[in-house]
């Protein structure tokens, strides 16, 4: 295993994250040692980015063989797809680490900080192992370690009763998902001798239809559970909000993308498209995920739950792209497939950037305003200008507005739907264009949701004393936020820099695909539009400069108070009213009567969303299993004669079986 420059970088990355950083952290007590370990983690992430970029260009993919160590073959390869996701993981890890240093210093005690950073580096390592694994054993090991380390990071935060319930749901769903992924891997075995990705690729071609469908379904279920697609999204709005903000940024930003990586690796690399109906299945689930995700997100007023639901929505959009690409592959239209896959992967990268930016923003809010409940914030743009601007960039990107990176990938997804109309010989030419409507609705609702999120949190009057005295976040936090915001804007205006390598990567995955010209046209026109908008707005800004302060007109009342402002619950009221069927709200209005005949002492209004997946889907399953177990427990009666009866019955039944066989 000759160690070229890239290999040494990669080994350095693994060694630091896996061994050196955790050991130094757990063993060390001094502040200096922890600083050194964090610097190591940061340098490892930077090394990761460099390894990703260089190995993207190097033709023979980098291969790190650990077969001689582990009982089963364990090797890591950084081919083009892995390099892209490795870049995603490491490039988001840098700002999150930078943000994490001040955040954890303020929030955690000495010992807890050590443990958090140790698990943080192991969490990062597990994700890198997942995206660069090139054997089934390595992938599954990384996959389960990812869940374990993220749970450890959540549990280090604290252990109240409902946190335990949420962590339990998270663990159970992740384990069930991992079992599905393992099944998907193992189903290859009848046709391939080992679980190395190369063997799986070969086997993928010769697998008969039935098994191919089974592999696709289990892979889709397994990775769908990790991605948070609708029926399996239950854990996402429960696990992300209770994790510390940098960790939920990592979980939402990167961990969800490992599910996309896994699905792409299975659907495109191994199965080369999967059964013919695979695209439609993915489209249906993705559309439901996108729509319901954002609709649940709009009604939330805890910022972290809102962001968690918006992650569900964005995963819906990514899988819309993947579904379209699968439809194209099924209809043998490689160009369209390349376009849709590029859109999906780019949206994965964009979502990693702006979602971690928004979660870090929430971290900054919880640090300085000590609350993430939208109804208690307000007027923070004045008090935290830099954080505010960064979060504004994040909100614009996630709403998919031009000049920001969200728009580029949504635009490409729109164009891939439109390209679907050229598939004349299948139903796709109607289904795909109609998907434009679905994605437009999702985009519109997302814009409304994040107008509310940013507007209520940062603009207008502070709604609580805590928001009143909020001060700007420390430098480390602001640096992290600005790095990500810069990333969002840069990709938004110069998408070519990411689109060219992405198209090269996609041509590897979709055989026979040329360069979709949409990727070139957008890369040409967007800079001009950016120039035009910035030019016009700056020139007009120069023309008007006279400004005078004047109190807002309050219809003659003495003065406006923050209670007169629109809170987040009210802001989403029209949309909640229109989509009432999705929420089935149960509304409670209580009035405290007072001595005055006309004016009650106080009126409180409470509207709770009653559609709960846990009650409708998961509770019955768990209850039936537990009732079976209780029935079985009654068999253990405690009476020795019954035990002996069991043995004799077993013996007699076996003898009878033998007799009549």
């Amino acid at each position: 295993m000759q160690l070229g420059a890239i290999e040494t970088g990669f080994v350095f990355l693994l060694a630091v994250l896996g061994l050196i950083a955790p050991l130094v952290l757990i063993a060390s007590l001094a502040e200096r040692a922890r600083g050194f370990a964090i610097a190591l983690i940061l340098s490892a992430s930077i090394a990761g980015c460099l390894v990703a970029v260089f190995s993207f260009l190097k033709e023979p993919a980098l291969l790190l063989e650990l077969r001689w160590v582990t009982p089963f073959s364990f090797s890591l390869t950084v081919d083009r797809l892995s390099a892209f996701f490795l870049l995603l993981v490491c490039s988001v890890a840098i700002p999150v680490t930078v943000f994490g240093v001040p955040y954890f210093n303020f929030h955690y005690s000495e010992a807890r900080r050590n443990w958090t950073w140790a698990f943080f580096s192991l969490f990062l390592l597990s994700m890198i192992v997942v995206v660069t694994a090139s054997t089934g054993f390595a992938f599954l090991m990384g996959w389960e370690l990812m869940t374990l380390t993220s749970t450890a990071l959540i549990v280090v935060e604290g252990d109240s009763e409902d946190r335990r319930h949420n962590v339990l749901i998270y663990l159970l769903m992740m384990h069930a998902g991992a079992a599905a992924v393992a099944t998907a891997f193992f189903l290859f075995l009848p046709h391939s001798d080992s679980l190395d990705f190369s063997a799986l690729r070969l086997a993928g071609a010769t697998i008969p239809g039935g098994l191919r469908a089974a592999i696709f379904v289990t892979a889709f279920l397994g990775f769908g559970a990790k991605a948070g697609l609708i029926p399996l999204h239950l854990w996402l709005p429960r696990a992300h909000p209770i994790a510390p903000s940098p960790v939920s940024a990592m979980m939402s930003g990167i961990m969800l993308k490992t599910a996309v990586y896994g699905f792409v690796r299975f659907a495109f690399d191994f199965l080369a498209g999967g059964p013919w109906w695979s695209g439609y299945a993915v489209l249906v689930v993705a559309a439901a995920t996108g729509l319901l995700g954002i609709l649940y997100g709009i009604s939330e007023h805890d910022l972290k739950r809102l962001l968690a639901y918006s992650s569900v929505e964005n995963m819906g959009i990514i899988f819309l792209g993947l579904g379209t690409s699968l439809v194209f592959v099924a209809n043998h239209a490689p160009l369209g497939a390349a376009l849709a896959l590029t859109a999906a992967l780019l949206h994965a990268f964009n979502h990693a950037l702006f979602k971690s930016l928004l979660f870090l923003g929430t971290g900054a809010l919880s640090h300085s305003a000590h609350s993430v409940n939208l109804n208690e914030l307000g007027g923070l743009q004045e008090r935290m200008p830099l954080t505010g601007t960064a979060v504004l960039v994040g909100c614009c990107s996630i709403a998919g507005l031009p000049l920001f990176n969200g728009f580029i990938s949504e635009w490409l997804t729109f164009r891939s739907f439109l390209a679907g109309s050229t598939l004349l010989n299948s139903k796709a030419d109607v289904v795909l264009p109609l998907m434009v409507g679905v994605l437009a609705l999702i985009g519109g609702l997302a814009a409304a949701c994040f107008v509310k999120a940013y507007g209520v949190a940062f603009l207008g009057r502070p709604r609580s004393a805590r928001a009143e005295e909020a001060t700007e976040a420390p430098f480390g936090m602001r640096l992290g936020l600005l790095l990500l915001a810069a990333g969002c804007v840069f990709i938004g205006i110069f998408p070519g820099i990411l689109l060219r390598p992405l198209v090269a990567l996609v041509q590897g995955l979709v055989p026979g695909a040329g360069v979709p010209n949409e990727t070139l046209s957008i890369a040409r026109v967007i800079p001009w539009i950016a120039l035009l908008i910035v030019g016009v707005s700056s020139s007009v800004a120069l023309l008007r400069h006279k400004k005078r302060m004047a109190r807002t007109w309050a219809c003659g009342l003495p003065g406006l108070s923050s209670r007169m402002e629109y809170t987040s619950t009210v802001f989403s009221k029209p949309i909640r009213f229109v989509f009432a069927r999705v929420y089935r709200p149960d509304r409670k209005i209580e009035q405290q009567p007072s001595d005055h005949p006309y004016f009650p002492a106080s009126i409180s209004y409470r509207s709770v969303r009653t559609t709960s997946y846990e009650r409708a889907l998961y509770r019955p399953v768990v209850d039936s299993i537990v009732s079976q177990a209780l029935r079985l427990r009654r068999l253990q009666t405690g009476n020795i004669q019954v035990y002996l009866l069991y043995i004799f019955l077993a013996l007699v039944s076996l003898l009878a079986l033998l007799r009549f066989q």
């Binding site: 427990r633 253990q636 009666t637 405690g638 009476n639 020795i640 004669q641 002996l644 004799f648 003898l655």
Partner: protein, 220 residues
């Protein structure tokens, strides 16, 4: 000399009838002492069987095994049982969970079943049917006794009847295992009984009764 030959031939052909008799009597026995006596009678019949086959098949080892069976199962174990029942001072009743009529019906069914089971294997092993049937019925009756009798001592007795059945089956089909193995098995049975005795004393001290079906604290 052929007198012994004739006697051994007689024993070989007719011992299964005696065994069936003891099995039926065991089913109806009400008191522990009668059950113990029946067990020793049963063991005596088996000793005779062992000695007869030893004589017929000219196997010197079988004589030692026969002596062992005689000493342990006919004399030693019943005496130990009687001293145990005396020392434990418990009600001498067998505390059966099935009425005598039901027990007899069950044993009859067992005998029929053993004949049916043996029929298919009998010719594969070309051994007289009723001998093997007697062994199998002993096994099944031992099992039935353990299932239906609630007394700890009776469970031990059921176990011994079961082991008698297995020993007899081994004897009939293969004229006995190598000597060391037979001795080892007897040694194990003896120690097993010793331990069961210890446990019965402990049950008696802790629970003041020997009713096994009441031991139901460990559930779920």
């Amino acid at each position: 000399m052929d007198l012994i030959g004739i006697a051994s031939g007689k024993v070989l052909s007719s011992f299964s009838v005696f065994l069936f008799l003891t099995v039926l009597l065991l089913a109806v026995a009400r008191r522990i002492s009668t059950s113990i006596l029946l067990f020793s009678l049963q063991s005596a019949v088996i000793t005779a069987e062992v000695l007869a086959t030893a004589f017929q098949e000219k196997l010197p080892e079988a004589y030692i095994v026969g002596a062992l069976v005689l000493v342990i199962k006919v004399i030693l174990i019943p005496r130990a049982f009687f001293s145990l029942t005396k020392r434990l001072r418990t009600v001498r009743d067998v505390k059966a969970s099935t009425t005598p009529a039901q027990s007899v019906f069950a044993v009859a069914a067992i005998i029929y079943l053993s004949y049916a089971a043996v029929h298919s294997y009998g010719q594969a092993v070309h051994v007289p049917d009723d001998a093997l049937a007697a062994a199998v019925s002993l096994i099944l009756t031992g099992a039935f006794l353990m299932l239906s009798r609630k007394k700890a001592l009776m469970q031990m007795l059921g176990l011994l009847v079961l082991e008698n059945g297995i020993f007899l089956a081994a004897l009939i089909t293969t004229f006995g295992m190598p000597l060391v193995i037979e001795i080892g098995i007897f040694f194990d049975i003896l120690i097993g009984l010793l331990l069961m005795g210890i446990f019965t004393f402990r049950i008696n001290d802790t629970f003041e009764h020997l009713d096994v079906s009441k031991l139901r604290r460990l559930r779920g």
